[in-house]
Symmetry: C2
Subunit: 206 residues, 2 copies
């Protein structure tokens, strides 16, 4: 059985949704972020980076959302969660996921994770002021240049949609209104109706 | 023929090295960063994100280093540049590449790209002060927990080594001494002896 370590409200929900969509046999284990368990020896033995998600498989521990998402898609190929038979389309999906992890997630993280990159309270405040605009620029680009419709990658639902859903859950806190991006708002609505998504959200308490 | 758009001193060298290692038929096209060409309409038509690398294929344009590297490995499978037949090892390689793009590259970028995330000169200075320590923490973790040796992924050279080489080239500017990480310094020395690497460095003027 796979074990997914997650923290509430974190990007780990992307991997969680992908596991549910794949019909995987998995257990989701909450890391106690309220008590900073992710920074303590027990969890660092699982993921020395002190971050979530971490996916424990029969062969070891995998980290980093884009890697875990591709792994899940490849482990359950019959679920068609990625364009595995077309290297160009797969690269487009990986490019989308890579953009989310290296740019969008990072822009968001400057709202609450300033101490990763600076030391002064004035810098954190300065960073926080830029988050809304940066996230809006990302969503504009995603809607105009990346989203193919009706799902991120086109006709077929993929793990890229799971990843985008994780980002969506941060937008309200970032003071960004998904309804300003009607194609993306519509995608989120359709995701919320998927049985696997409903199941994960219920499991996490909404 | 593939076309790779790159900027001097950027992460694009990772994709450039992978193309050379793959024996690909490619042309490398320099984007004039000195005149901010990456922010102007001609280049934004190629990559609306205004970043490098961008790889032009027969079927379209690919962006984001981890996606391009996997694409090159999959396009030239006979070169064995990624563990394509083992989804768990591939996920480990993708996790490494994802860590470089979402954490290591981002830490480095706070030295010169502060305006992406803040507005005040005092914040940029504050950010710059943290770069050396953050990069050192990353290298410590890479050497102790990720590097398998003699190459990043173990016995076989992969595109992850190309990506690490791109990061290495920033370390001097970040005031980090690769020789403090002897296993990684040794890997870099062996990379510099590879014919494809020598050819790319010569092509770029060293």
């Amino acid at each position: 059985m796979l074990k997914l370590y997650y923290g509430p409200g974190t990007v780990a929900i992307a991997s969680h949704l992908a596991l549910a969509e794949a019909g995987a046999d998995y257990e989701a284990i909450e890391v106690d972020f309220a008590n900073a368990a992710q920074t303590k020896p027990d969890y660092l033995a699982i993921n020395p980076k002190g971050r979530v998600p971490a996916l424990v498989t029969e062969r070891g521990i995998l980290t980093e959302t884009p890697a875990i998402l591709l792994y899940i898609a490849q482990r359950y190929p019959e679920k068609n969660l990625a364009p595995l038979d077309d290297i160009h389309r797969l690269a487009e999906m990986q490019a989308f996921n890579s953009y989310l992890c290296s740019t969008v997630h990072v822009n968001h993280a400057h709202r609450m994770r300033g101490p990763r990159w600076a030391s002064e309270e004035s810098s954190f405040e300065d960073m926080r002021r830029k988050v809304k605009g940066n996230m809006e620029a990302c969503l504009t680009l995603i809607q105009s240049d990346m989203y193919k419709g009706p799902w991120i990658m086109g006709e077929t639902f993929t793990v890229a949609d799971c990843y985008f859903f994780a980002i969506y859950r941060w937008l309200e806190g970032d003071k960004v209104d998904i309804n300003d991006y009607p194609k993306l708002a519509d995608l989120i609505k359709r995701m919320q109706e998927r049985p696997a998504v409903k199941r994960v959200l219920a499991e996490l308490g909404g």
